[in-house]
Amino acid sequence: MATTKPHRNLVRTYAQDLRLFGTPTKRAGLAAMLIVLLVLPTIVQDDFWLSVLIYSGVTAIGAIGLNLLTGYCGQISLGHAFFIGAGAYCAALVGGDLNLPLPLWLLASAAVGAVLGGLIGPFALRLRGHYLAIVTLGLIFIGEHLWRNLTWLTGGNNGTSVLAQPTIGPVDLGALELAGENYSRNQGYFWLVWALVAILALLTKNIARTRPGRALCAVRDHDQAAEVIGVRAGRYKIGAFMVSSAIASMAGALFGSYQQHVSPDDWTLLLSIQYIAIIIVGGLGTIFGSILGAIFVGALPALIDEYSSAIPGVATEAGGDGFISVFALNQAIFGLLIVLFLVFEPRGLAGIWFRVKAYFKAWPFSY
């Protein structure tokens, strides 16, 4: 009798359990995603849809950062918009005024974000839960005051142009030319932004599945108990703040560089809430969920804006017909999404996905 081999998906060692793309299905999924990433902008060439996808990608980067802090480490931050704004202004300074290439202004923004996050971090040591939420809320308002008054950097209320160019050495992603083929600015930005999403997702996934990630989860579940089993809770809290705000600043730098103009009105409480809605809708404590949520929620404002004339009751312009403005509708939808998901599906879209996956894994049995 031939020896029966275990099922190929059976996990036998810890190293096997940690592997990111351990099964053929997962490897096929990775390949499919890469192909979509490379080919999509050549199929979808419409500027509107590309810009929606680019904004979703930028949002996904910011959401990955926030999910690391809130989903993994359990620190509530309403101040994410502050770090995103800081990143955008840093890109304007380093990429625009000093005219340095893409890797440098991106890294400079990340560094500024990390430093600012490190300054906020110590508050997380003394405060927890509710207190931290309100201190980071204060950060939004103090930040807004700074952005409106540091006119040499931010241009005050009128905003400033961000002339950071997406150039790496001789390659200009804003006007890409490959094998005699010209690609538009939007196509170049799509590849840039989504490649960065992939890199940062891999990076944070690696943080999350290794020792620091387990430490973060321990701190989230009970920081004092974590201290007792030997986790330096303080160090990990500050670290989570630094990494999270560094990623947020990179998102801000990309946002500014793509949009080419930013003003203090871009970094209000609503932006922070949008990010929180994203990680709740996507799924707290999952990297995959942040990206899913960013595509779902991040694309929403642009879609509502584009199709507002087709939605009944929405006023397309100030003083127009309809009882609710586009802005107010966005706000209401974010609010509703947060409430509905927390009440009915606290694990978010990722939770739904895991359930579907578990169902097919166990099929035809229901457990």
């Binding site: 509530i76 207190y131 008054n149 107010a328 974010f334 609010g335 009440v343």
Partner: protein, 298 residues
């Protein structure tokens, strides 16, 4: 000297408004352990209900205030009943986010009904002033301070001498022990939301009766009342009043001396004074001035 006193008076009036909102926070926090970010939405809703009763139904101002408080209290209690009760036992993050979500639903709802325009609320205070010993005091500011003082006294009497006040204190202290004594936690939770909504309405109407009038941005005052609550300590009603007055005074004085002393910090620096003050005090006393340090078990 008289500018200083005028500023102090303005600060006391503003601080009273903060104190009203912050007491609403504390009532909800003490009994249910939830920080209610939706308080600003309830405040705006209450103020607009006051506008509805005073202007559309042309009721007497006092009656309009009472009706608005009652209506807002019903809204507050039903929000608790329909949404927050499902969240009992969830981590604080989820509950905070629920209330933020509620705030973001309430605000567009209000603008959808009443619009963005600045509405003048019919009231007997308006911009009338009285002169006391060379100082010109706004009638509305006097009323705000008076109402807050009355509410503080009423609060004290309610919690000290009524059986329901005792029930609320017991639930805040230990929900399970209170349940074992036959106290209905559901009623306590619903009533605390109702009280908070009524307090927010009082704050909203007294604000809206001022020169600024009534506009949707009125709900932002509740965000500025957070520092007041944090400063005083989240679980202390006396702390909320103290914090409110300190924050109000600091803000009014910064605004009053903006040109002489604070021009280096940029225009409108008074708006962020509550937050800066809160952060500074939290660095020294992480549990606020009168809050209790919580003891945590592993």
């Amino acid at each position: 000297m008289s500018t200083f006193l005028t500023n102090v008076f303005a600060g006391l009036a503003l601080g009273s408004t903060y104190a009203l909102v912050a007491m609403g926070f504390v009532v909800i926090y003490k009994s249910t352990g939830v920080i209610n970010f939706a308080q600003g939405g309830l405040l705006a809703l209450g103020a607009y209900l006051g506008y509805f009763f005073a202007n559309n139904l042309a009721l007497a101002f006092g009656v309009a205030i009472l009706l608005a408080c009652a209506a807002a209290a019903v809204v507050g209690a039903s929000v608790e009943r329909m949404i927050l009760r499902r969240m009992v036992g969830q981590p604080p993050f989820a509950v905070i986010m629920i209330t933020i979500g509620l705030l973001f639903v309430l605000e567009p709802l209000i603008t959808a009904i009443w619009g963005f325009d600045n509405l003048p609320i019919d009231n007997p205070w308006n911009i009338r002033t009285v002169e006391v010993g060379g100082l010109v005091l706004g009638v509305r500011d006097l009323w705000t301070i008076g109402i807050t003082a009355a509410v503080v006294v009423g609060f004290f009497l309610f919690f000290r001498y009524t059986s329901f006040g005792l029930a609320m204190r017991a639930t805040a202290f230990d929900p399970e022990a209170a349940l074992a004594q036959g106290i209905s936690a559901r009623r306590v939770y619903a009533v605390s939301w109702a009280i908070a909504a009524a307090l927010a309405t009082l704050a909203g109407i007294t604000l809206a009766a001022g020169p600024a009038g009534l506009s949707p941005s009125i709900s932002f005052i509740a965000l500025a009342a957070f520092p007041a609550m944090i400063l005083g300590g989240m679980d202390s009603a006396a702390g909320a009043v103290l914090g409110g007055l300190i924050i109000g005074l600091a803000e009014a004085l910064t605004r009053g001396y903006q040109d002489e002393l604070f021009s280096w910090a940029g225009s409108n620096v008074s708006v962020i004074v509550p937050y800066v003050l809160m952060i500074l005090i939290l660095l020294i006393r992480p549990y606020g001035l009168l809050g209790t340090k919580d003891v945590r078990r592993i």
